[in-house]
């Protein structure tokens, strides 16, 4: 028995060591650093208590980024999940060319982020971008989509949805294919319409997948930074600044590492609360096979 426990811990050791080194220790480090001032030249960091957090309360860009991130999450998560489900249901049906269609839906996921951002940058370009050509051809006026505060965030949201939906579709597709066809036949024999079958049988059976996707979507929404860097750099006037982008700016553009650590801690708390909430509230409603 004793021996078994030792072997067990030894087997866990490599994974645990990596997790501690690259995940848990940095978290502890960030929390620690957030209570210290930023070291400058010969001046070592000094303990300043909650000063960094007080600065945050007064930081307008932080609040703007927080709100932006909230809108970004609300804009991307429900739409990308709904789209993913719709696409999965579509390509799961028996029809010609569905392999091609599956590949087409999944392609955005395979493309590198930088390339994707650059493609969309071209779509949104004023005057000769694809979107502009389309709107002027239809007789609408020109508009600087990424350059105006009112539309920039929405543009970034569209790119994120386009990139995420195909990825989530794969999970839904896998889950749909694990539902035996005899269930739909049994439902058909009882006179259930396709809608009724979808609502009462398919969606509940997809709930574990939905929960998994939801957690991933929330994490993705909060850690979005690469599109922003390539497409807008947070502008115009911080209209597309998201939390992690703000952290990145403070930490690696302004080198205010103490404050960046405090911002990171807030980001972590937001994520932890969101994930915890999802698991506590949704887990009860999820049926695991």
């Amino acid at each position: 028995m004793r021996n078994g426990a030792v072997t067990g811990w030894l087997l866990l050791l490599p994974a645990a060591a990596l997790l501690v080194l690259f995940t848990h220790w940095p978290i502890v480090g960030s929390v620690w650093d957030s209570f210290y001032s930023t070291p400058k030249g010969s001046r070592p960091p000094v303990f300043i208590g909650l000063d960094n957090y007080q600065a945050m309360v007064a930081d307008e860009v932080f609040w703007k980024s927080l709100w932006n991130n909230l809108w970004f999450a609300l804009g991307t998560i429900p739409v990308s999940i709904a789209l993913a489900l719709a696409m999965a249901l579509w390509v799961n049906s028996t029809m010609r060319g569905r392999t091609w269609l599956r590949m087409a839906f999944f392609t955005p996921t395979v493309l590198p982020m930088i390339a994707v951002a650059n493609i969309w940058l071209f779509f949104y370009t004023p005057q000769y971008g694809l979107l502009e050509k389309l709107t002027t051809a239809l007789g609408f006026g020109t508009h600087n989509w990424l350059g105006s505060e009112s539309t920039a965030l929405a543009c970034v949201i569209v790119v994120a949805i386009w990139k995420e939906a195909g990825f989530f579709m794969i999970f839904y597709l896998a889950a749909l294919q694990s539902i035996p066809p005899s269930l739909s036949e049994a439902a058909a024999l009882e006179g259930a319409s396709r809608g009724y079958y979808l609502r009462r049988i398919v969606l509940p059976l997809l709930m574990p997948t939905t929960l998994f996707i939801l957690v991933n979507a929330v994490i993705n929404a909060v850690r979005m930074v690469d599109h922003i860097i390539v497409m807008t750099k947070g502008g115009p006037n911080n209209a597309t600044s998201l939390l992690l982008f703000h952290v990145y700016q403070v930490g690696f553009s302004f080198w205010d590492t103490g404050y960046a650590a405090a911002l990171t801690v807030v980001l972590l708390v937001v994520l932890a609360v969101a994930a915890l909430g999802q698991f506590v509230f949704l887990d009860k409603k999820v049926h695991y096979q």
């Binding site: 035996p180 005899s182 269930l183 036949e185 049994a186 439902a187 058909a188 024999l189 009882e190 006179g191 259930a192 009724y196 049988i201 509940p204 059976l205 049926h287 096979q289």
Partner: protein, 350 residues
């Protein structure tokens, strides 16, 4: 009660012919078994009756109504799937009343029918459970309950007992048959197990490669198999089939010197059929065989032996003791002898 009529129903999957223009009628309230080896088209036939697939040609009628192009729900039937097809996230009770909810049956009526079915099947203590918390036999009962609560005149079953152990299979066989008779349902039951067919059926439809080989009562298929295929499919173990060859003006067992007691003329060869249980060890019998092995079953033993090129089984009461290689002789009553044409495999009478 409803009758089912198939008229030249065929089903093609691309080029492959799953069903080759089969026709049959079932009596209302009867228990019909579709029997055959895998790939014979029995499940396809059932799915066509259910409306889960559509025939490539031919008509299907239920009662007086042509249902060939009707959706499954409008055919007035229920079905039990081989895999049970229970909804894993719903409780036993919700699984059973699923169809009633779809059809918006009133709560009071739903409760009344649920109580009746759970009573009938002894599911009362399981109603709150999920299918994954049930044993195979219990799941099978729930599937049966879901089929019965619809109170449809026809119930289709696709190998419902194939996932159960032998003991339970025997119990469920009797139970399903009793339920069918009590509720006077027309039952179409698919199986590859001839024991199920023999014990449960009013009529057996034996299928082979998409065609009907023989239709009849279990007695008819057992006593008068129309072909060597039927003979070798019905009975456990099936009938011994021993090829005969010409010997002067009579016949002998192929590959031996023993003459066969057969006086039928035929240009082609003949095949003699005798069931293992109809053979009697008899030192003066016409059939000489060499023992290969003995299988002891308790009440009886099966002696495996060889006659020329043919294999032979003899059923002997209690435990028979023979060494491998021992010579035995056997005889049979004249009315237990079956003759088949060697080329066509068809029964020859007289």
């Amino acid at each position: 009660m409803s009758s089912i009529h198939l008229e030249s129903v065929a089903k093609l999957w691309g080029e492959a012919r799953a069903l080759d223009a089969i026709s049959f009628d079932t009596e209302p309230g009867s228990f019909v078994v579709l029997l055959g080896p895998s790939g014979c088209g029995k499940s396809t036939t059932l799915r066509l009756i259910a409306g889960l697939d559509t025939p490539s040609s031919g008509r299907i009628r239920i009662g007086e109504k042509d249902v060939t192009n009707l959706p499954p729900a409008e055919r007035g039937l229920s079905m039990v799937f081989q895999s049970y097809a229970l909804f894993p996230h719903l409780s036993v009770a919700e699984n059973i009343v699923f169809g009633l909810r779809v059809r918006k049956v009133s709560t009071a009526e739903r409760e009344r029918r649920l109580a009746r079915v759970t009573d009938l099947l002894g599911l009362g203590h399981l109603l709150e459970r999920r299918p994954s918390q049930l044993s195979g036999g219990q799941q099978q009962r729930v599937a049966l309950g879901r089929a019965l609560i619809a109170e449809q005149p026809i119930c289709l079953m696709d190998e419902p007992l194939s996932n159960l152990d032998a003991q339970l299979r025997g119990d469920m066989r009797r139970e399903i048959r009793a339920l069918q008779q009590r509720l006077a349902i027309t039952m179409v039951y698919v199986t590859h197990d001839q024991v199920e067919a023999m014990t449960m059926a009013d009529r057996i439809i034996l299928l082979r490669e998409g065609r009907i080989e023989q239709v009849g009562t279990p007695d008819e298929l057992y006593e008068k198999p129309r072909t060597t295929f039927t003979a070798s499919f019905i009975g456990a173990p099936p009938m011994n089939l021993i090829p005969l060859e010409h010997a002067g003006d009579g016949w002998r067992f192929a590959g031996t010197d023993s003459r066969a007691p057969v006086n039928v003329t035929s240009a082609d060869g003949l095949v003699l059929g005798v069931r293992p249980e109809d053979l009697v060890l008899d030192d003066r019998g016409p059939l000489a065989a060499t023992v290969v092995s003995v299988e002891f079953h308790g009440a009886d033993s099966l002696v495996a032996a060889r006659v020329g090129e043919a294999n032979l089984l003899i059923r002997v009461p209690r435990h028979a003791h023979f060494e491998a290689g021992a010579r035995v002789r056997a005889s049979w009553a004249a009315h237990h002898q079956h003759l088949f044409d060697a080329r066509s495999g068809l029964r020859r009478d007289g």
